[in-house]
């Protein structure tokens, strides 16, 4: 049996971890994700999405599920490993004071789990105060030192100077982690769940699988819709010069009724005919370097070819 990939979502109280988790559940795209959280309280799920509620478990209509940790984290892990069928991805929302490096050890030790990455969420509004808090500051630094990726939330609520200060802190505290600015709290699930650099030792730099430039900062763009596209327009879009675009991928329905998946990474593009997704809804996501990529520019270009 393949081990279940595990992604940790860490960050202090109020940083926006739950927003990220909600967005992963909403955009699971058929992936059967199991989310392990401290409590259901803040998980803002559409009531229609919940098909069963059984004590510490919520089953969702898209195949995902949510479990609470309760007072024994390991017992919760054990319950998940006994599920049949097993989830395809395990997302653990750690407590605001958890050391994700330590929490992640279970996914390195347990042969039925495999650690994909540690995502640390920080928010532009409270970061500075949390860092200065005598009870919290050090915890926050420890979290960032383990980050395979940093997701920044709430940048729309502060001015650019605050974001600049945050950036300089992150450059110092998590110099190797790519940063993702989650505009309006949305994060592309593929990017958050994909394998990222894992630090196996404290302070060590023996990570593998470096998919990103160290310390690079990204912005994202996402689309979901029922409109169709012409094949030629799609191919043109995949070749269109877009400053700072790092990756663009998705699945759309063409005007002839067939479905096509597409993927653009750097100068590489490919697309192929595929079976219709379930649900039958088009989607696309893009990630680009924050200082060059303008999501609005892509949004304009993409909207223009929707039929």
């Amino acid at each position: 049996m393949m081990p279940i990939p595990v992604t940790l979502i860490a960050g202090y109280l109020g940083a926006g971890k739950t927003t990220v988790v909600n967005s992963l559940l909403a955009e699971a795209n058929g992936l059967r994700i199991c989310v392990l959280v401290n409590d259901f309280g803040e998980i803002a799920l559409d009531e229609d999405l919940i098909i069963n509620r059984d004590g510490d478990t919520l089953a969702l209509s898209n195949g995902c599920m949510c479990c609470t940790i309760g007072n024994d984290f390991y017992a919760a892990i054990d319950r998940i490993l006994r599920l049949d069928p097993r989830p395809e991805h395990l997302v653990i929302e750690t407590s605001g004071v958890a050391d994700p490096f330590k929490v992640g050890q279970i996914a390195l030790a347990e042969p039925d789990l495999s650690l994909q990455g540690i995502v640390v969420v920080v928010d532009a509004v409270n970061f500075e105060a949390s860092l200065a808090d005598k009870f919290l500051g050090e915890t926050l630094k420890t979290q960032l030192a383990s980050a395979g990726m940093v997701v920044i939330t709430k940048t729309d609520l502060v001015n650019e100077a605050v974001v600049e200060t945050l950036r300089s802190h992150l450059a110092r505290l998590a110099p190797e982690a790519p940063r993702l600015v989650a505009d309006l709290g949305r994060v592309p699930s593929d990017m958050v769940l994909e394998p990222m650099a894992i630090r196996f030792k404290r302070g060590g730099h023996d990570g593998h699988d470096h998919l990103h430039d160290h310390g690079a900062e990204y912005r994202t763009w996402a689309w979901r819709g029922d409109q169709r596209l012409k094949a030629d327009d799609l191919e043109a879009l995949l070749r269109l010069p877009i400053d700072g675009l790092y990756r663009l991928k998705g699945i759309v329905q063409l005007t002839d009724g067939t479905w096509r998946s597409f993927h653009r990474a750097g100068a590489q593009q490919n697309w192929q005919s595929v079976q219709p997704p379930s649900p039958k809804r088009g989607r696309a996501v893009a990630v680009g370097l924050a200082d060059q990529f303008d999501p609005v520019e892509l949004e304009t270009a993409f909207s223009a070819i929707l039929v």
Partner: protein
């Protein structure tokens, strides 16, 4: 079960003793105590019960010394059933049946003990051991090669005394597919890169425990665990003991009610509802509902709040200047803001909280939280208790007194970990003020002292001995100015402990009206040398008038 003598309804029994130490200032000493219906009727001399009509004289304790039954205000249910596993510690330790297991300190002794135990096990069945402490073990660090000498055809798992480490044999390692490619930091390696068999922290231990079906929870739940806990208490003179972090789910509460109601059950259990991971309002409602279901022998309603980890594990939250080896500060169990919210809600509900705080930053946070909660909800006399509270300074003890907060200090740590604290964690100066019992009393703080059994062995006389002598195995005296007198230490394992649990109206001293709970000792703690306090034999207990002899 120790032989128990049920009393007859309405009968007055007068026990004579060599000495009765009451913990009551009005009458600190007596020779006779009259008991009726499980309660103390009268205390005094041979004529103690004359005013109360006919009485039966019982002289079985004539040569013994009677104290109030000991109150272990920080222990865990697992204490008893842990003995289902093979004891492999370095100190002599008594099992719930009173059998003393000699300490072992060499590989040869360990392997011999394991082989003997394996002979009684069905083929292929794993061998579980506990109590092992590498600090006191001679020679090379215990590893799989040693354990393979005991068995290669069945898994062996040795839980260390700290419960944070485990050493397993090759067969157990292979169950979890641990090999040179395993990246978890807790899987310790030999120089050749292969796992040594030592596993550090739960993440590394858990894959083995799952596959061996070791569930620590089952050691802390169910009739067997509850009965064994009761037996362990009798061996050490304890008549009231906490289970200081309990899930208390409905089925388990039923079992607790049923088992403790048995006529021969020798212990009053005080389980504390573990609230970490619960919504504060749900936790408060649950604790209040449990409190309403309490019986004399099952006192529910107190809550346990966890804040930080342990000092020797470098997970306690410690104020500047931190750990002497430069280790990073420890871990909070829950966000400080959430901890404060929990404290506020439970305090407002009038509930008593027992707060695990090892480091001085943790005790500071809880004092802040209590102070804030008190401003909003000026309840008096909640008796929130800082548990362990090992590093509190004068400022914090003074503040506890002002806030009406009690402390339950981990005096046993001075002996079991004192040298380690001097050498590895805090250094000589701060180790000297650890578990500062004198400061607690001098500042007017209600004081209990504890074993945290099974972390260290249950045994109030040993705990009191630690608080009185403050010596370490290497002969250091940690903070001689913090020593307690023997009467003060005995108070801390009886009435002081009862007060921290808000049970002092019923137990903790020998005075008319309170439960007839006695610790029966073979010698007089007030006349033996203070250094010999821990060597006094415990002959048994009387619990609510029922006699339990060892």
């Amino acid at each position: 079960m120790p032989n128990s003598v049920s009393e007859i309804q309405g009968e007055t029994v007068v026990y004579a003793a060599r000495r009765i130490i009451t913990m009551e200032p009005t009458q600190p000493d007596a020779t006779h105590v009259a008991v009726r219906d499980g309660r103390i009727l009268a205390v005094g001399g041979p004529d103690v019960a004359d005013a109360w009509g006919p009485a039966r004289r019982d002289d079985r304790f004539r040569d013994a010394v009677i104290l109030p039954g000991f109150v272990e205000a920080h222990s865990h249910m697992m204490t008893g059933a842990l003995w289902d596993y093979l004891y492999c510690g370095n100190v002599d330790r008594m099992d719930p049946d009173g059998k003393v297991w000699a300490g072992i300190s060499t590989v040869e002794e360990l392997i011999d003990r394991m082989k003997t135990a394996i002979e009684a096990l069905p083929e292929g069945k794993p061998l579980y051991c506990w109590g092992f402490d590498p600090l006191f073990f001679a020679g090379e660090r215990l590893n799989r090669r040693h354990l393979d000498q005991a068995a290669i055809d069945r898994p062996i798992a040795v839980m260390h005394q700290s419960f944070h480490l485990m050493t397993v044999n090759s067969q157990a390692l292979s169950l979890a597919a641990y090999d040179s490619n395993t990246n978890a930091e807790g899987v310790v390696r030999f120089p050749d890169g292969t796992p040594s068999g030592e596993l550090q922290e739960m993440a590394a231990m858990f894959p083995i425990m799952r596959r061996l079906d070791v569930q620590m929870q089952t050691l802390a739940q169910g009739e067997h665990a509850i009965r064994q806990f009761g037996k362990a208490a009798v061996q050490t003179g304890v008549t009231t003991a906490t289970d200081l972090y309990a899930a208390l789910e409905d089925a388990e509460v039923e079992t607790l009610l049923q088992v403790t109601a048995a006529d021969d059950y020798p212990l009053r259990i005080v389980p504390a509802l573990g609230v970490i991971g619960m919504d504060p309002n749900v936790a408060a409602q649950r604790a209040l509902a449990l409190r309403a279901r309490s019986t004399d022998r099952l006192r529910m309603g107190i809550c346990k709040v966890m804040t930080d980890g342990s000092i020797q594990g470098f997970t306690a939250r410690v104020k500047w200047p931190g750990y002497i080896n430069g280790a990073a500060n420890g871990l909070w169990n829950l966000e400080p803001d959430r901890l404060k919210e929990m404290v506020r809600v439970l305090h407002a509900a009038g509930l008593n909280m027992q707060m695990h705080t090892n480091g001085d930053e943790a005790s500071e946070l809880m004092l802040d939280a209590i102070e804030e909660a008190t401003v909003l909800h000026p309840n008096s006399d909640n008796r929130h208790t800082l548990q362990h509270c090992q590093m509190a300074g004068e400022d914090q003890f003074y503040r506890m007194a002002r806030l009406g907060v009690c402390c339950n200090l981990f005096a046993n740590h001075l002996w079991y970990y004192g040298d380690a604290h001097v050498e590895f964690t805090l250094g000589r100066d701060r180790a000297a003020r650890m578990n500062a019992c004198r400061s607690a009393l001098d500042n007017g703080v209600t004081l209990a002292i504890h074993s945290d059994s099974p972390v260290t062995p249950m045994g109030p006389l040993h705990v009191a001995w630690c608080a009185v002598n403050r010596v370490t195995p290497k002969g250091r005296v940690l903070g001689p100015n913090q020593k307690l007198s023997v009467p003060e230490a005995l108070h801390a394992v009886t009435l002081g402990a009862a007060r921290t649990l808000k049970l002092d109206r019923d137990i903790g001293s020998i005075t008319p009206g309170k439960a007839a709970d006695f610790a029966v000792l073979g010698d007089d703690p007030l006349t033996v040398a203070p250094e010999a306090l821990r060597d006094i034999a415990v002959l048994g207990t009387v619990q609510a008038g029922r006699v339990f002899t060892r």
